[in-house]
Amino acid sequence: MATPTLDKPAGAEAGADHLVTVTFRIRRFNPEVSDQASWQDFELAIDPKERVLDGLHKIKWEIDGTLTFRRSCAHGVCGSDAMRINGRNRLACKTLIKDIAVLKDGRGTKPITVEPIQGMTVLKDLVVDMEPFFQAYRDVLPFLITEGNEPSRERLQSPADRARFDDTTKCILCAACTSSCPIYWSDGQYFGPAAIVNAHRFIFDSRDEAAERRLEILNDRDGVWRCRTTFNCTDACPRGIEVTKAIQEVKRALVTRRV
């Protein structure tokens, strides 16, 4: 391989009877080599309590340094490593091997498939172009908008008012929801669940004064009305946000014109 990998320290595998052998089947794509993506298998000895991200690290650091993927925090906070693992969108850093591999006699019976998230242009291997996703995010004005003079003290809010949008504050913008949405796959023009979740976070914030503007944006052709209540987004969200419910709340606010 062209890219250097770490030399294996001698005796690293000693006393490794807790390790299991699993196959990672990874969707590889390198536009400088071929215009077609293809599957590549890697066999690893790995602790089943490790995560898929650790498996990817092992491959990148010890087997094939050209494997390309995004990750930053490695602890489910930054949202950079959403990928399609065994056909479902998850964060590689929150998915344990033992939870997704069927193990028998210390071997995985089936390969673990790892693909880039769907509906966005693949740049290389597991890295996709997130720009359309963030464009939709920016389009819903995801920041506090107020009018009049700045208060000289903090903007107070009752616990009940805070609770209304508590769920949607948890979003880490990983795109697992948007890239699991069949409506988003179809033409990529739909705002997508993540943008609506982040609009919801401000629409229902009692301190914010631009709910009308955001509702107007989401009332358009590619806004909330394209949602078909498939629930893929709720299933995909690694933060456990009730995404479909948030979208429904925005729809209700539009129908009743009341926030």
Partner: protein, 153 residues
């Protein structure tokens, strides 16, 4: 939007010969749809829910009367239909069913065309066909219900 990825054998992609680039969705181009600022999609969505509920009653009732009650399907004849349409109640029932079912189905197909027609021309012609068929069926059905003459021979 299909993009041509065929190339001559042996012409590897390189910085000088880059792989084809796909325009990412939602980039602002001169073709990007403008914001419309209307409630059309809202009313469309509401209409689907409400007409769906009404249609459940209308259609199930219709099927029950036509196919199950009172001798089932074998009783249906010209006289049976003529007898029912003598009553304004059944005229309104059938008219409502016709309009709601056609608009409900038409709007559903419009959504599907919007989702799956990739090409602007395909989209336009599919929709043109859909709207023509919808309008034609609705008008013809309405005409028949109102001008029905039980005495034609």
């Amino acid at each position: 939007m299909a993009i041509d990825t065929t190339r001559a054998a042996g012409s590897e992609f390189s910085p000088d010969n880059p792989a084809p680039l796909i325009e990412p969705p939602r980039t602002r181009t001169p073709h990007s749809p403008r914001a419309t600022r209307t409630n059309f999609e809202l009313y469309g969505w509401l209409f689907m829910r409400l007409s769906g509920i009404v249609l459940v009653i209308l259609v199930l009732g219709h099927l029950l009367i036509q196919l199950v009650l009172d001798g089932g399907v074998s009783k249906i004849s010209f006289a049976f239909v003529a007898g029912r349409w003598a009553s304004p109640f059944w005229q309104v029932w059938d008219l409502a069913m016709l309009w709601l079912a056609m608009l409900h189905g038409g709007n559903g197909l419009r959504t599907i065309i919007n989702d799956y027609a990739q090409n602007d021309d395909t989209r336009f012609w599919l929709k043109a066909l859909l709207y023509t068929a919808t309008v034609f069926t609705v008008l013809l059905g309405t005409l028949v219900i109102f001008t029905f003459d039980p005495n034609i021979r």
